[in-house]
Symmetry: C3
Subunit: 261 residues, 3 copies
């Protein structure tokens, strides 16, 4: 199985699929091809929240504003999974999550990918990452040392990318919006446990009740809830949280417990 | 084979696919993940118009404004097919269509799905419906009584959802717009037979010829035709029918035969 | 393997997939279903740039403004590939590319597809092309003469569609915009070799440097580069080339080497 994720829109992912299927017989599963464009950080969030649900597979992920520059192409093995993509931090959060799932200490090895004379300087998804994912799938994740196109490197030498941890001072939490999803739900970096027992809170001067399901408020009303990722979300029942709260990806938030009705 | 349909946009369906493929080895086929958002009625139309073309399979469908409330999660077996989704009427029209295809009386059985302590209250697609679809696929549609997560219920106890039948008074038909498709084609609930022999009609004061193919009128001109679903559609050759006729999903229509040129 | 490409948006492709999978057991791979709507010429470009990366397969492609008119439905065999679609030129550029890949002279045969009494006059993707693709897949590309639904025709009798060749007069090249991609990159018909050794050029009075990767210019700045298709592209680093150059698909361009800084 090979999963594919990118910000390539359409129809570029089809060329990657053709390259892969010309080299190996694999079930292909799309994660998404409209990941936040040229934004490895937001894309890394979505990879971390989707890939760990999959059985062992090769995961190809390309959000790569540095394509054609000196940035390395890398592959990382984590237990029975292998990830392939640019060395810009995109793969690091999901690598940590996969390691945690496997007891925190599975075999983790990093490699630089080298492709002689790729056909383009702008479409490494097709010319570098797709061939690498196909060869890794064909070879088997436990025999990557045998692949000529892979050279072992130190994982610590790879670009890292961390999501910020919120700070708490009494009943005030300072955090950040990680991403806004298709529904307009504002996903923050505040872990669900922080809101345990809280009935109401103020986010950047906007007050909303803390509820467990959307229908606890009327259609069009704001709410705070624990989203499916385990973080506090700023949402609207049958509406868009990003508009109602005035929040976008990357924005700082100040969340204060309580607030007038 | 498992088909997937939802209003989840992207990349949430990927988490469902990971959950399924972690539990069963199935060919996955997407119906659509941009079904009309939080509108089970319009979504039910599209399920009815696509799923019956498939060979026997498990069909996962989630358009679920009541997620996290008391609404049940259900599975319905119809002959060799099984459908999995929320108990809000979404599955009923396609169940009837599949039953009709099988001579009107295939084995039809309904079940409530119970998942202990799902990981989220807002993403039952991932935490309830995907595991259920996977277990049903793994078990086989003819042995659902053996699954611990399924409890037999009366199909008649499930929420129903019917598309309205138009009324006819001489040369006037009163009906409704069921959905508008991506092309802007306005799909009504008026069966094709009603327009047999009619050359021209007026829809809500807008006159248009009744033709069998779009190119019978000039580019940009309105037309009425029998769409691929067997219903009268209000269309524009190389344009958008919804804009030209001023119609949207759910609108009432009055269609009168004839009308000046 | 069967690949699918269309301008059908969603969820119509699902009906095609159901029809196919009811008739043959194939791996399905989407090329794209948002090909330029009702524009066979632009769609033909994308087919030519994606399908040749695939291993031998049946390729279903439908961008078909003439559906329901007298235009023929055709299948073309090229070596181990088979293509299925309307006879409007859509398939010809990719047929030539596949022939070139196979040494310029693989076995190439054309057929008219005949389906008795298709269920609709407007959705031949579901009612004509999908059954044909399925039967061809089931039969095997090398035994198409045995299929009742196929009648041999002369490939030269099929509608052709050519991309224009640019003209060059000294340091001035007159060409055309073939397509604009999802990123806003303007893909011209000027082959990469024309810009060899050129450092700067003026496109329709807009000057830009010729560079090999986007990051050679600042974010938001214009550039000319060799795109992944082997043609000159008018792009913007982290922006939209179509807006910055004022160009759209089909526009004429005049590219002059040099230009003030």
């Amino acid at each position: 199985m090979i999963t594919l994720a990118s910000d390539f829109g359409t129809p570029y992912p089809a060329a990657m699929k053709g390259v892969i299927l010309s080299r190996t017989d694999a079930q292909l599963v799309d994660i998404a091809h409209d990941l936040p464009r040229q934004e490895p950080r937001a894309a890394a969030f979505w990879l971390r929240e989707t890939i760990p649900y999959f059985p062992p597979a090769v995961h190809l992920a390309v959000v790569d504003p540095g394509v054609g520059t000196g940035r390395r192409a890398i592959a990382i093995r984590v237990g029975d999974h292998a990830l392939v993509g640019p060395d810009n931090g995109l793969l690091r959060p999901v690598v940590r999550r996969l390691a945690d799932q496997n007891g925190g200490n599975p075999l983790t090895e990093a490699y630089e990918i080298t492709v002689d004379d790729p056909a383009s300087t702008t479409f490494h998804g097709r010319d570098v990452f797709a061939p690498a994912a196909a060869e890794i799938h064909e070879q088997g994740v436990d025999r990557l040392d045998d692949l000529d196109m892979l050279s072992p490197i130190d994982l610590d030498s790879c670009v890292d990318l961390q999501f910020p941890t919120p700070t708490r001072d009494g009943e005030t939490i300072r955090g950040e919006v990680l991403v806004v999803d298709d529904f307009g739900n504002v996903i923050t970096n505040v872990p669900s446990a922080e809101l345990s027992g809280v009935e109401r809170a103020v986010v950047n001067d906007v007050v909303a009740p803390v509820v467990d399901t959307f229908d606890r408020v009327d259609a069009g009303d704001r709410l705070l809830t624990i989203g499916s990722h385990g973080y506090v979300e700023c949402d609207v029942n049958q509406g868009r949280g990003d508009e109602a709260f005035g929040l976008a990806a990357g924005d700082d938030i100040e969340l204060v417990f309580g607030g007038a009705d």
